[in-house]
């Protein structure tokens, strides 16, 4: 098995889950209503838990301990797509990102249940339940607010247009696409993207929101190779603040 290709895939997935999990957790205590605050925070915690499982897998392949990997790297060593690191903004943006990202995440893990790398296929099966709720939550909100009032539709539409180029960055091709596909580790970003487009189109068509012609948009690539927006480094610093005070502390 091509371990370099596998690790590249695992790193970008783990970093996606960690960074989106941390970002979403910034809503804790500030959600639009108590029930949503709890639901969104709980999902954020799921995502951090999923990143931990992936870092653990990398550790078993010879990489450092999960905490070391999560808390001691700088922004340019992260492989998350830039969509996950953008500031929360208002709730409409967070919901749109949640919808766009989680739909892709769900399909990625669905495809990975068939992975030739058994531990990854196993993990993908295990977390399908969690992710099913995450997309159920996202779809319910988008369907509600996407056809509610003029303000809610306008806000979501604006956020959708802002987020889409970054969302296309999720599918930035890996240098190892061919190897991953050939070895049956992963079906590849192009397959994922096509499925993602049809699924978001299906949900959005049930709302008053308009999906722009995606072929006219320039995807925001770079995240997968460590070229991030200015928003990631402050996030990483805040996330690792406590760890860095005493890296040897037992939790």
């Amino acid at each position: 098995m091509n371990e370099t290709a596998l690790k590249e895939l695992l790193y970008k997935m783990a970093d996606d889950q960690l960074i989106i999990g941390h970002r979403n957790s910034e809503w804790t205590g500030m959600g639009p209503l108590l029930e949503e605050d709890i639901a969104f925070s709980s999902m954020a915690q799921d995502k951090v838990g999923q990143s931990h499982a992936l870092y653990q897998m990398l550790h078993s392949l010879g990489e450092s301990e999960p905490d070391t990997v999560a808390f001691t790297r700088n922004a340019e060593q992260f492989h998350n797509c830039t969509l996950t690191e953008l500031p929360n903004g208002e709730y409409d943006f967070s919901l749109i990102r949640h919808f766009l990202f989680d739909t892709a995440e769900a399909i990625r893990f669905e495809l990975l249940t068939e992975s030739s790398y058994a531990p990854l296929a196993q993990l993908a099966k295990k977390i399908q339940g969690e992710i099913r709720y995450h997309t159920m939550h996202a779809n319910a909100w988008i369907k509600q607010l996407g056809s509610a009032t003029e303000e809610s539709v306008n806000r979501l539409q604006t956020s959708l247009e802002k987020a889409l180029p970054y969302a296309l960055g999720i599918f930035e091709p890996s240098p190892y696409e061919q190897e991953l596909i050939a070895e049956g580790i992963f079906a590849g970003e192009e397959v994922l993207k096509e499925k993602w487009i049809s699924r978001i189109t299906e949900i959005l068509s049930q709302t008053s929101l308009q999906l722009p012609d995606l072929s006219t948009l320039k995807p925001e690539f770079g995240g997968r190779t460590g070229q991030h927006t200015e928003h990631l480094q402050p996030l990483v610093e805040e996330m690792s603040e406590v760890f860095r005070i005493d890296p040897g502390a037992e939790w």
Binding site: L33, L34, E35, E36, I38, A39, S42, M43, Q45, D46, G49, Q50, H52, A53, K126, I127, Q128, G129, E130, R132, Y133, M136, H137, A140, W141, Q144, W251
Partner: protein, 203 residues
């Protein structure tokens, strides 16, 4: 952003007016009752309430509100105003002593679910369902089976069609990663650590 602190907002008050205006309703959603089944085969029991704009969102909220830590195999929600409740009894007195055998006999039969409170301070548990024309009739029909049993202190009746159940395929949302101790405060053994820290510093 404008401050949400009333002490700050009141600084802008300019004079007072004597004319009357309508009392504004609270800016919040209605409530939905949430019932949880911890394990396949166990009865559903009432877990609490969520605020939500409709039953679909109530379900979404209820799932994380009431089943994010414990095991769960099913959940259902019903709008609070669709739950019909009796008075409370106490001691050895069952509420069925007060359920009339007389009930109006108009309308079509529909299915109703009924719930019992067997211990004050505990949750209502789902007991069964019965075909009836009204909630009152549903309880009257249940009465013969329960009047001479352990006292029921309070009963709830809900029309089955008013309930949003979990679909079979959605039951997967409770298949989650088992390694989730990080969700429980107890796993961090904070008090042990604080105690050890204090002892170290005292010594």
């Amino acid at each position: 952003m404008e401050s949400l602190d009333p002490r700050v907002n009141r600084l802008d008050l300019k004079g007072f007016q004597g004319n009357l205006t309508r009392k504004a309703p609270l800016d919040q959603f209605g409530t939905f009752e949430v019932f949880i089944q911890m394990k396949e085969g166990k009865p559903y029991q009432h877990e609490g309430i969520v605020h939500a704009p409709n039953e679909e969102m109530a379900f979404i909220f209820a799932k994380e509100q009431f089943s994010r830590r414990s095991t769960c195999s099913g959940l259902f929600v019903v709008e609070t105003r669709n739950v019909f409740v009796t008075d409370f009894t106490e001691g050895e007195d069952t509420i069925y002593n007060y359920i009339s055998d007389e009930f109006p006999k108009e309308g079509d039969k529909e299915e109703y679910e009924f719930f019992h409170l067997m211990k004050r301070g505990k949750q209502h548990q789902h007991v069964g369902s019965v075909e009836a024309r009204t909630p009152q009739e549903a309880l009257a029909l249940a009465k013969p089976a329960f009047i001479n049993e352990k006292p029921v202190f309070n009963a709830w009746v809900v029309k089955t069609s008013d309930i949003l159940f979990t679909s079979e395929e959605d039951k997967h949302i409770w298949d989650t990663l088992p390694e989730k101790k990080f969700r429980d405060a107890s796993d961090y053994k904070a008090s042990d650590k604080i105690k050890a820290f204090k002892e170290r510093n005292a010594g």
